[in-house]
């Protein structure tokens, strides 16, 4: 469990980092918190010839609110986001989700940008980003571009980032005024990747659901929005029965694979459970 040989670069500026990525392309891998990359190196599952360590680049660790979104520099550590009063106040489902990421030592070191760019299908941040409709800013020597969450996660551990691009910022919309939310995750042990997780928001007016989002992770290659379930829920009273129906629809409508921790059928039942519990939480119902 020693990594294969690699060249190591520690650029001191964003421009230097982007130049390195432009030069090495697919041969380069970005090292941020290292919580996924370093184990992959030690197992020799990842063999990048060049590691570009971005930890020395200034200005990538800010949390701020901008135009109705929370902005996170790529190097914001999970723990800092978890303990941010701004995040807790403006985007509580995100704060709640971050508490489920690994263990404290992992959250102390792991980064917001790294977790999103790594795109583990069972990870919390990609789920929340898809559920809330966030976006990321990808920078390269060619310039910057914003990529919506719905376009960003393209497959298992795969994203829309080009090999010369660096994820420099992630944005999550603040929770809409009056909206309620729920986040539910089930994992075998505390800190494990989710077997199933759901992040939902609900807006209601006049006793009817006027808007909702239902994000689901676990079992499929990417976190997804359960759009059919969302459509079915809008216009209902958002009560217990409506939530049950939406959860059932969400579970039947998504792609799920079994693995050593659970069969596809079991995982599908978990999806239904976490979606329903998240919806009930958002609707102010108790199970």
């Amino acid at each position: 469990m020693k990594p294969p040989p690699f060249a190591y670069a520690a650029p001191g500026t964003r421009a230097e980092a982007l130049a390195l990525l432009a030069r090495h392309g697919y041969d380069a891998k970005v090292l941020a918190g290292g919580q996924s990359l370093v184990p992959a190196l030690n197992f020799r599952l990842a063999r990048p010839p060049v590691l570009v360590d971005i930890n020395g680049i200034p200005g990538l660790d800010a949390i701020a609110e901008r135009d109705g979104e929370l902005s996170f520099g790529a190097l914001v550590r999970h723990t800092d986001a978890e303990r941010s009063a701004l995040v807790a106040r403006r985007c509580p489902p995100l704060a709640k989700a971050i508490g489920h990421i690994g263990h404290r030592t992992i959250r102390n070191r792991g980064t917001i940008g790294g977790s999103i760019a790594h795109a583990d299908p069972a990870a919390e941040l990609p789920l929340v980003m898809v559920a809330l409709g966030g976006r990321v800013n990808a920078a390269s020597v060619r310039g910057e571009r914003w990529i919506a969450a719905s376009d960003f996660f393209t497959g298992y551990l795969a994203t829309a980032l080009e090999p010369d691009e660096l994820l420099v910022e992630a944005r999550f919309p603040v929770l809409a005024s009056g909206a309620t939310w729920g986040f539910q995750e089930y994992s075998r042990r505390s800190g494990d990747f989710a077997l199933a997780a759901a992040c939902v928001t609900l807006s209601r007016a006049g006793g009817k659901v006027t808007a909702c989002s239902i994000g689901v992770a676990g079992g499929g290659p990417v976190p997804v929005r359960a759009s059919a379930a969302e459509r079915a829920l809008i216009g209902t009273d958002g009560g217990s029965g409506a939530c049950l129906a939406a959860a059932s629809s969400a579970a039947s409508g998504i792609e799920i694979d079994g693995d050593i921790h659970g069969s596809a059928a079991y995982r599908r039942s978990l999806v239904e459970t976490v979606v329903r519990r998240a919806l009930w939480t958002a609707a102010g119902l108790t199970s």
Binding site: P4, H103, R189, S263, Y266, T273
Partner: protein
């Protein structure tokens, strides 16, 4: 002569652990800290196939890679004089497997070592290992018990027909088993599958080997629980006299059975040191530890229990199959697991007749080795599940059913049908204690109300007796000669009255540097912190078995008593002479020796020690100088700690998650040398037991590829999954051991699976049957809930 009053004794007190300063300050030294000048670092090329003929090994590219010192294959190692690992076992019908330390001709499990790369660093060694080209001619894998026993299954070893290490059937009892079943009022039966587990010490294995050509002496620093046993096995494999091999080790970061073997890697590093003329070091990484050290406890127990109309057990019949893996581990072989299973399954109960059939199956998987509990947890799971099934069938409270069958204090000491000694304690009292402390009746009374609120809460228990510290009488008939049943100690008091004890035990975190110091302190009238315990060095300590099978407190601790009393006798003789009285008139007390009838007449330990060495004043005629003695202690055949585990669980019937709300262990381990240390042992064992019940399982695919050889996928419990574990003791000194202690190093793990399983079934409103496969994964729990018609 005599010793100090019990209130002044250190044994029985929870003094802080003397070894902990170095552990909590990060200054302990482990095998990774041992370094030799000119050492080469070893990386193994391991098989990627479960079963294959090796058609070609091309190491030419690896040999010319940067920093590579050598690449050695199995044939080359054998040519240097290294013989395969052999494990003779004195049981009828057992067939040995020869295990070449590096594969020759064939591989039999994924992870089997094929070649060793020695380089200037581990990084370079791993880089070069990737360059060794191995060509395989695949053979069919046989991963499971069923696959290996299927008609036409490929033979893993050509000489082992039917892929069996053994096929052993025995009957016990005054009455005939079939007749007993014929006359039974109730018969219950079940088949129980227990998962393949891993011992998972935090420190993986590792060795540093040095060979001195001029003297022909080997030195092996190794992370081992059994230094003398390893020396024995190594000398045989290396073809050298035993006295030319020294095995020693620094601190161990846990063992749990994973280091109670002589491993192929230990043989390889010694062989490499001899071939290369320079020291070599191998540190196992976590992947190797999970993939290729040892696994254990994958058993299928089919059992039938007969009872009379009042529920008194009459007869038990078992058919036990063990997945023994690809090779027979030294020294235990797979049969040790089977013998523990067949013998311990009778538990703390009466039984009139018993018959078993026991087979260890050869498969193309990692070899079977001991894991804490060694089949006793599996046997307990099967039996205690059957007890619940019987209680349900009789519509009888299972606590009452156990009470009708538990051995009474007045019946002990006695032997079970299989020859285990039950040496006392109040087994029913322990059960009652556990039931009371866990809040059994309160939980049962509130169960219906909780269920109405959608909460599924249940209680479960398991009773057992852990036999441990088995002596020569029990060890020798079943084991190869490298395993003694006894342990040794050498005690030296220096001229200042400070004491060093050299023990054949192995310290692996279990606190022997404290508990043995307490023993020596009591026998020698000194303070425990004036006693140093040395261990893990075959050149330094007396011969003895080492630390395995819950034996150190009794066996190695007993040897400390024997040796220390020899030194004590000299102190008393010398004191009597100095005080001008008969030896019978003096007694030891803390700090010195006094005249029993006149305690004011006293001589200090320091003065006695000085005189014994320096002869500063007249010694008695013929007094042999010095204060040193060696002693051995051979424990009784076996002694048994009684115990009951009781737990409260809450089940999420939708996800299948099981939360432990309360966990109680009631225990009678006899005299507790240091109660805090015993509590720690039991809690640690229970944590491992919770892992076995709910989380841990080594998984293979049908081709023999391990699916979870990392700590991301092999799920050991963490702090978050473990409830507070309450340990309560009854103390009935063993009448059979020298210090009144019993072994309890594995008691924490034995009852967990049965107690948790019984509690889950209770929570779901079931009675008796269900949950016969370990671990109780959420998916299996959900399956049981659906089977019982429970839905949120």
């Amino acid at each position: 002569m005599g010793t100090a009053e019990s209130s002044n004794r250190f044994v029985g007190k929870s003094i802080p652990r003397l070894e902990d300063r170095r552990f909590v300050t990060g200054t302990a030294r482990y095998i990774a800290d041992i370094n030799m000048a000119r050492q080469g670092h070893v990386a193994f090329v391991r098989s990627t196939q479960a079963h294959a003929t090796l058609t070609k090994i091309d190491a030419s590219a690896a040999r010319s890679a940067p920093g590579v010192i050598a690449v050695v294959t199995g044939d080359e190692l054998a040519a240097s004089g290294v013989k395969p690992i052999r494990t003779p076992f004195a049981t009828n019908g057992y067939i040995e497997s020869d295990w070449p330390a590096l594969a020759q001709g064939k591989v039999r499990f994924v992870g089997e070592a094929i070649a060793a790369v020695v380089a200037e660093s581990r990084y370079l060694a791993e880089d070069a290992a990737e360059l060794v080209e191995v060509e395989y001619d695949s053979l069919p894998a046989a991963v499971t018990i069923d696959a290996a026993m299927a008609p036409g299954a490929a033979l893993v070893h050509d000489h082992m027909k039917g892929n069996l290490y053994n096929d052993d059937t025995r009957s016990f009892g005054e009455i005939e088993v079939d007749a007993a079943f014929a006359q039974a009022a109730f018969v219950v039966e079940g088949t129980f599958d227990t998962q393949r587990s891993a011992a998972l010490p935090i420190e993986c294995r590792g060795s540093v080997a040095d060979y001195h050509a001029a003297t022909g002496r080997f030195t092996l620093w190794s992370s081992t629980q059994l230094p003398h046993v390893v020396r024995h096995g190594l000398a045989d494999c290396l073809g050298v006299p035993h006295d030319t091999v020294r095995v020693l080790g620094p601190d161990l970061g846990g063992g749990f059975g994973n280091k109670a073997n002589m491993d192929p890697e230990q043989v390889v590093v010694c062989g490499l040191a001899r071939m290369l003329g320079r020291p070599v070091k191998w540190l196992e990484d976590r992947r190797e530890n999970l993939l290729a050290s040892t696994h254990g406890q994958e058993e299928r127990i089919t059992a039938r229990l007969a009872a009379d109309a009042e529920g008194r057990f009459i007869a038990l019949e078992t058919d036990i199959l063990l997945n023994g893996g690809a090779y027979s581990i030294f020294p235990d072989t797979p049969l040790n697991e089977l013998m523990n299973c067949t013998s311990s399954i009778l538990g703390p109960y009466r039984m009139k007749a018993y018959r078993y059939r026991a087979r260890a199956v050869v498969t193309t998987t990692c070899p079977h080795g001991p894991v804490r509990g060694v089949a006793r947890s599996q046997a307990n799971f099967a039996f205690e599940r059957l007890v619940e099934t019987l209680a349900a069938k009789m519509n009888l409270d299972s606590i009452e059913l156990r009470r009708r069958n538990l051995l009474l204090p007045a019946e002990m000491p006695c032997k079970t049908l299989t020859g285990l000694t039950r040496d006392g304690g109040d087994y029913a009292g322990l059960m009652d204690l556990a039931v009371e402390r866990v809040g059994w009746r309160r939980v049962k009374a509130g169960q219906a109300a909780e269920r109405a609120k959608g909460r599924y809460v249940g209680v479960g228990l398991a009773s057992f007796a852990e036999e441990g510290a088995s002596g020569t009488e029990r060890r020798i008939p079943r084991q190869l000669l490298s395993i003694a049943g006894y342990d040794g100690a050498f005690v030296r008091m220096d001229m200042h009255g400070r004491v060093v004890v050299f023990s054949s035990a192995a310290g692996m975190g279990q606190g022997i540097e404290t508990s043995f110091a307490q023993i020596a302190a009591d026998e020698l009238g000194v303070a425990p912190d004036h006693v140093t315990i040395r261990h893990n060095d075959t050149d330094m300590v007396p011969y003895g078995m080492g630390s395995t099978g819950s034996r150190s407190a009794v066996s190695s601790g007993g040897a400390v008593v024997v040796a220390a009393r020899r030194v004590q006798a000299k102190l008393l003789t010398l004191a009597a002479h100095l005080l001008g009285v008969d030896a019978a008139a003096v007694r030891l007390r803390h700090g010195g020796v006094e005249v029993a009838a006149d305690p004011a007449r006293f001589v200090s330990i320091e003065r006695l020690a000085w005189i014994a060495y320096r002869r500063a004043e007249g010694n008695p005629p013929g007094f042999e100088p010095g204060l040193e003695a060696v002693g051995f202690y051979d424990p009784p055949s076996s002694v048994s700690s009684g115990s009951t585990h009781a737990v409260v669980v809450e089940v999420d019937v939708e996800t299948g998650a099981v939360r432990l709300l309360a966990y109680v262990v009631a225990e009678d381990a006899g005299i507790l040398l240091n109660p805090a240390i015993v509590d720690g042992q039991i809690r640690g064992g229970a944590v491992q037991g919770i892992g076995k019940a709910l989380f841990e399982e080594v998984r293979y695919d049908p081709d023999g590829q391990m699916l979870n050889a990392s700590l991301m996928d092999f799920l050991a419990p963490t702090m978050s999954e473990v409830p507070p574990i309450e340990v309560v003791h009854m103390i009935t000194p063993s009448p059979l051991t020298i210090n009144g202690a019993r072994g309890c190093g594995e008691s924490g793990i034995i009852g967990s699976s049965a107690a948790i399983g019984n509690a889950i079934i209770d929570a779901l409103g079931g009675r008796g049957e269900g949950l016969s496969v370990l671990p109780f994964t959420p998916e299996r729990v959900v399956g049981l809930a659906r089977q019982l018609g429970v839905r949120a």
